[in-house]
Amino acid sequence: MSDGTEVGTRGAQVARAVGVSKIYGSGDTAVLALDDVTVGFLRAQFTAVMGPSGSGKSTLMQCLAGLDRVTSGEVWIGDTELGRLSERQLTLLRRTSVGFVFQAFNLLPTLTAAENITLPLAIAGDVPEDAWYNRVIDAVGLRPRLAHRPAELSGGEQQRVAGARALVSRPLIILADEPTGNLDSKASAEILTFMRRSVDEFEQTIVMVTHDPTAAAYADRVVFLADGRVVREMLEPTADKVLDSMKRLGD
């Protein structure tokens, strides 16, 4: 599965949620976080997931990542249905097929930038393929900063390291949870540009949860969630169009 970039074709579905529901708690306190969500993600497509807080966008992301189990429905990453996997198999799947960029605390403080980038490979006992590693480093523009520890990097640099880490193991899909949430607009633009390039140049599939219309404008497609349901999809979004939709969703 890790060789998806070579075999897959642009436009094929690499991940999907089929009729996914997620209920937290039980009885009177039960909360329906996802309500029969069906959504697919295409190869080399950059999808933004948006919605008001509590709409279920983070839950969807976590279910896609195999970090959380769905209550009903199926989640597929490539040819694998996550519901059937054991805890260990899920871990191995995350290691090989899913890349992550979180809002904050993406990096291990004890490791250098380079070590953080190759962390998933090191965990698997692999070494990065040199050519690919160098392309990723150049794409992310971090070559002079590789020997630094996270504490010595700016917020934007840290997020780019996280992005490079997600990319270097060539996962089927990269999941980004509010990657620009803690960044100023310049740093945000840097990481978003990098993600855009990953999709365009490396045919990487990216799903990004965000509440920022400017960030969503970098995507190929925006999926709007409200009350645990997919309520709208938009292709070729712009910041204005997204903002407009968000306003209407709020009504």
Partner: protein, 847 residues
């Protein structure tokens, strides 16, 4: 502030429980020691009240050597009994004797006690004085062929009334018929001693007390008070004899045993102190970590108006509560420890008498005060650090990472403290000034503190070095483990320092034992010219009959046999040890270089003195020195020879003729036997065995066997030390568990991240495990270094006492490091499980 304190405590229950455990164990050891020794004391007191029952007044010679707990009393002439009996108000008076008598079991081996005496006594015929030793079965012995045995020995050896038994004495062994079994009130024996009871005449004969009494017991006539009678008897005897009431006698006897209990008490308290000292490192560490993690909370308190003093009060209040709770629990644990220690002693052959455990109010007070004070002192430094948290920290990102910069202050303070410790240690070991034990112990403590201060400086490079194998062979978990062990040097160092203390002491005793064994071997090789070394039973300081040497001399295969008898005397008021030897025989079996005179000059009596002692006093051959002996009092003894130190002779050799006059018991502790030239080893050994056959308490060893035997005795003591130090080491490992558990909590987001990017639970667990192993090995290595230094200084200091060789048993020390690593693996189990159980979602979405 109370509410905040209590909430803080209840919010960190688990972290604090582990901290408290360190105190609980230390306090438990202290309390257990007191419970044990109080119990032993009480047992003895009860016992002596029992054995002196019916005695109104007791008469015996004064003890000149009681200060050393080494009772040596001269027997009294039998004629004194008539004087005492004639005192008005005396209803009955009876002389009694006691001495060495050792049963031979049905298996032909001597019955040993593991420390307690093997007593032979005369049994009373006066009805009032028979209350102490009561008949359980049969009747009291009468005549030269009968003996009564204590119930415990009878039970253990399967002796029954009318059985024939062999008993060993100072003189020739004898055959006796058991006439009765004795009890002592509820007790089956006298605190572990074996007892052979005879009628008076038989006892005087077999115990080497012809015409003598060790004690005269008096029964008062009706209407005469014991005090009055005591004073009346006192008026008629000479001042070298003391007269006591029965109650005084019981108290006095118990007091003599109390010296022994006090020694046990101090020895065990020393180990308890080590455990507490290790525990205090853990308290410092836990409080430091917890307070660092609560930086924002404390800063918030400062923001809303709490003063520094209030923060300090709050933290110390927490410590006080933990200390108090832990101490109370520790007190309970102490009772278990007391039982455990008893079991340990029993396993090593020291059977302590059993009664219900005694818990004195003093024990409760000491345990709680010690526990609370140690906790408070240990938490003081972290508490003061907490007061320096500025209110603005509440608004800043949480930064737990400690600064890793080299602190010059730390280098200076650490080096200074260590230097002071070393100076104190050397002063205690090499200069005969002040209280040496206090200097040595204080020096060791200060060195530990100094190294503790310095260790954060070296813990990072050392962790890098020790973590190398893990980083290279244990994959990414190994690499991360090394990084984690290096990231907070102070935390790693103080966790390792706790283990360092335990292992330093363990390696100290190991090195010392090895050096001792090597020294013994060397002394034997150089100083002993004998082919065979005869000793009493293992684990017994009692000697054997002098008949053995007498008969060996008559064997045609034997060139020479020399017995060594042990004695104490006073010189200018201080107690000294001497060997009583037969000079010509001794000269043939022990290589002694004389610088003046010769050992054969002692044939007509006198003393030989070691050259350094002679130099110290400015004596010369021909001078006489004033020696005060247990029998016969002070005597002027001429110096006949001066010899060089050969590590074996001791400072004084007294001619046998003088020894026989000045000591009431004649037993050889060791006998050295040399075969005639040309006699085959088989033939000479057969000759020695032939003589020893009648004395089953005598062990025959050639030099190689004797060395092996000494080594195994040293090993036994070594094991006892290991057991006693085990608690300190266990506490240190609790410290590792504690630190790792706290670190796992602190790194919850990192762990979540690692899990999210594909680290399996198993990899996560091995990451925590390797960190624990690195910390443990770090502590072990530091401990070995410090312990080797301690060992070297101790061996150096004891050079004049015969420890001439310094040996570092590399293999054993390496095993310690491996065991420490293994224990690290075990210590990691709990924190690793917690790390593996961390919910990834919650970890990565926290805050």
């Amino acid at each position: 502030m109370w509410t905040v304190t209590l909430r803080g405590l209840t919010a960190h229950k688990l972290r604090l429980a582990l901290t408290a455990l360190a105190i609980v164990l230390g306090v438990g050891f202290v309390a257990g020691t007191y419970v044990l020794t109080d119990t032993i004391s009480k047992t003895f007191t009860q016992l002596f009240e029992q054995t002196t029952k019916g005695v109104d007044v007791a008469v015996r010679t004064r003890d000149t050597f009681s200060s050393e707990g080494n009772e040596q009393r001269a027997p009294m002439p039998a004629t004194l009994l008539d004087t005492v009996t004639a005192v008005p108000g005396v209803a009955a008076a009876e002389g009694s004797v006691f001495g060495y008598a050792q049963f031979v079991g049905k298996d032909g081996k001597p019955v040993t006690t593991g420390g307690a005496p093997t007593l032979g006594v005369s049994l009373s015929t006066v009805p009032q004085l028979q209350a102490g030793a009561t008949l359980r079965e049969g009747r009291r012995p009468t005549g030269p062929g009968e003996v009564a045995v204590d119930a415990h020995t009878a039970k253990k050896q399967g002796f029954a009334v009318s059985d024939r038994v062999t008993i060993l004495f100072q003189g020739a062994p004898g055959q006796f018929t058991i006439s009765g079994i004795l009890g002592f009130g509820p007790a089956d024996n006298l605190a572990g001693a074996t007892l052979a009871g005879f009628d008076l005449a038989t006892a005087q004969r077999v115990l080497n007390r012809q015409g003598l009494y060790d004690e005269i017991d008096v029964v008062a006539a009706d209407g005469v008070s014991t005090q009055a009678l005591r004073d009346r008897v006192r008026a008629v005897v000479d001042p070298s004899v003391e007269v006591l009431t029965g109650q005084q006698l019981a108290e006095d006897t118990a007091k003599a045993v109390g010296q022994f209990t006090k020694f046990i008490n101090y020895a065990l308290l020393a180990f308890a102190f080590v455990a507490l000292f290790v525990g205090s490192f853990i308290i410092v560490n836990t409080f430091s970590i917890i307070l660092a993690q609560r930086t924002r909370e404390l800063a918030l308190l400062r923001c809303v108006g709490a003063g520094r003093r209030q923060i300090l009060t709050m933290v110390l209040l927490e410590a006080l509560i933990i200390g108090a709770i832990a101490s109370v629990v520790g007190l309970g644990v102490g009772v278990l420890v007391a039982m455990g220690l008893k079991a340990v002693f029993a396993a090593l052959g020291v059977d302590l008498p059993s009664t219900t455990l005694v818990i004195q109010p003093r024990t409760v007070v000491v345990a709680i005060v010690v526990g609370v004070v140690v906790t408070l002192l240990a938490s003081l430094m972290p508490a003061l650090r907490a007061t320096r948290i500025p209110p603005v920290a509440a608004l800043q990102e949480e930064t737990v990472a400690a600064s890793t910069r080299i602190s010059w202050r730390r280098i200076v303070v650490g080096t200074l403290v260590t230097a002071v410790g070393i100076a104190l240690l050397l002063l205690g070991l090499f200069a005969a000034r002040g209280n040496r034990l206090v200097n040595v112990a204080g020096g060791a403590v200060v060195i530990f503190l100094g190294v503790g201060v310095l260790s954060p400086l070296i813990s990072k490079p050392l962790a890098r070095l020790l973590g190398w194998p893990f980083a290279h062979w244990a994959g990414q978990p190994g690499r991360l483990a090394r990084e984690n062990a290096m990231r907070s040097p102070r935390r790693t160092a103080s966790t390792a320092a706790a283990l360092m203390i335990g292992l330093a002491l363990v390696s100290l005793v190991t090195i010392f034992a090895s050096s001792l064994k090597a020294s013994v071997t060397k002394i034997l090789d150089e100083a002993v010219a004998a082919d065979y070394i005869l000793t009493g039973p293992t684990n017994s300081s009692q000697g054997f009959s002098t008949e053995v040497v007498n008969r060996l001399r008559q064997q045609p295969e034997i060139e020479s046999a020399a017995g060594i008898r042990l004695g104490v005397f006073k010189l200018d008021g201080t107690t000294q040890q001497l060997f009583g030897v037969d000079p010509p025989a001794y000269d043939k079996t022990v290589r002694t270089d004389t610088t003046a005179g010769s050992l054969s000059d002692l044939a007509g009596g006198g003393v030989a003195v070691r050259s350094d002692v002679v130099k110290q006093h400015g004596w010369r051959v021909g001078d006489t020195i004033g020696m005060q002996f247990p029998v016969g009092g002070a005597a002027q003894v001429p110096i006949r020879a001066i010899y060089k130190d050969n590590q074996l002779n001791g400072p004084y050799l007294l001619a046998l003729t003088d020894y026989q006059r000045h000591y009431s018991d004649q037993l050889d502790i060791v006998a050295l036997v040399k075969a005639k030239a040309g006699v085959s080893p088989d033939a000479s050994r057969a000759a020695v065995s032939r003589v020893a056959r009648d004395y089953p308490n005598v062990q025959i060893k050639d030099q190689a066997e004797y060395k092996a035997d000494q080594a195994s005795q040293i090993n036994q003591i070594l094991i006892l030390f290991y057991v006693l130090l085990a608690l300190a080491v266990i506490i240190a490992f609790i410290g590792i568990i504690n630190t790792l558990a706290l670190s796992v909590l602190e790194r919850i987001r990192e762990i979540g991240l690692l899990r999210a990017v594909g680290m399996t639970r198993r990899q996560l667990q091995s990451m925590v495990r390797w960190e624990a192993v690195i910390i443990a090995v770090l502590g072990a290595v530091l401990g070995l270094v410090v312990g080797t230094f301690f060992g070297w200084t101790l061996v150096r200091a004891l050079r004049s006492q015969g420890v001439t060789e310094f040996r570092v048993p590399g293999g054993t020390l390496l095993i310690f490091v491996l065991l420490a690593a293994l224990a690290g693996v075990l210590a990691a189990i709990f924190p690793a499980r917690r790390a593996a159980k961390i919910d990834i979602l919650r970890a990565i979405t926290t805050e």
